[in-house]
Amino acid sequence: MLKIDQICKTYPNGTHALERIELDVNEGEIVALVGGSGCGKTTLLRMISGLERPSRGAVSLDGDVIEAPHPAVGIVFQEARLLPWLTVSENIAFGLDHLPKAQRDKRVDEALLRVGLSGYGQRWPRELSGGQAQRVSIVRALVAQPKALLLDEPFSALDALTRASLQDHLLGLWDAHRPTMVLVTHDVEEAVLLADRAIVLQPRPGRIFADIPIELPRPRDRLSPEFAEAKRVVMNALDGSLSQPSPAKAGRATQPSAGGSF
């Protein structure tokens, strides 16, 4: 279980990015962090990844406190961040140095097959489209078989069609090993499509505004009325989080149904 325990983050320049974030993510659960710009959602993700340290509080995975990048936590960034001097296969195998070559090759080939890129192994990253590069970036994180996968607005730079196809790819990949996933997004539809829970953050300083369970069966139909209703609830909470001026009041999660009245 991924436990985020009373995290605060203040930068040396005085920016108060996060205030007492408290969040437990169950094993295999997909949680979406939703919020307007400046609400600290990326900061929170970087803290879970161990790339940054909280000013107070701690993040732990199965009781193991995360103080630096952790072998059981993978991350996918907004940009694919492939190493341009490595082939696609070498990029995917980047974190698999500890495995014998045969096993490494096997995992890479399986991964390429699963994201529909078999035959692309020997290509250079520059030869890939944006969507293909992001697929490689996702499997690069997944071949290390992390217990938790963090995604920082992974599809925001892609066109709508590519995004939809990658969201399906991601769910397919998730289904194979069911890692815990934390997804940062500003796209409410994406949150409702993928997540078991949407956490709405409120800016300045970043706090949890609402914790909304999304209990739709998978695969989810974007056109169903239930989907539209869930979207509306999250959207309302998001609107509420942005129009709520006082930082003192809403320190804790409130119920989503109250969202409309803010």
């Binding site: 790339l51 990048p69 940009e79 961040r81 341009p84 001097w85 490595l86 974190g95 250079w124 990253p125």
Partner: protein, 278 residues
Amino acid sequence: MSEAGTLDRETTASARPTGARFAVFSSAFTVGLILPLATALLYEAAFRLGLVQARLLPPPSRIIATLWEMAVTGELATHVIATSLRVLIGFGIGSAVGMALGAVTGSSAAARRFLDPTLQALRAIPSLAWVPLFILWLGIFEGSKIALIAVGVFFPVYLGVMGAIANVDRKIVEVGRVFRLSRSALARRVLLPAILPDSIIAIRSGLGLGFMFVVAAELMGASEGLGYLLLDGQQLGKPDQILAAIIAFAVIGKLGDWLIVIASKPFLSWQDTHQRGA
């Protein structure tokens, strides 16, 4: 630094991949030959027709004859080897020290604050100003010449490598951190490949400056070397010998640059540049 800047641009322009398609390479090569060859032929014709006095500017045929003569007697080889060795040793020292110090100041802000101001101040001194001091310290023979060449090579390599390291994308370095690479693994698997393209440009401009300074070093007194041929040709009034030496300089300079390009090519095939396939 304007000299190095110009060199830089020239070497970049000639960095276009050549091996991919021989036909493309050879046609580009042929087009480039038209102007010098036509000029040479016109001048030769003017000379044969008695239209020009060739005392100060000998016709191509005479320059070729002089080169041939020096090649046959082995004189040319002696001078080319002497010059190449000086450049090679000076370039080796200058680029090794340049890369080492560039790596240190590029990767550590503390080292940069401590070292870089001094090195930048030294860079502001025209390298030729060191000549009298080097001769006093190291004598008139090889030591002072090699020192001068090394100084000339050092600065472009140092600046290029330092800049390359400082400019490595934080986002790429973060990928290395996420996969928990050790410091040495991060340097080897991420930083080194990331700085390679810029470093090779820096090394190439360093070699260009090495050739510039070997001429200066040999002009200040040498008993062999292409620079000696230049000076000897001036003192004895042999312009054909001067031009032969200049041509030899061009050939070995280009050859040295080409060797670096060829040697680095397998490591740079991943690059995404606008010149690809040109």
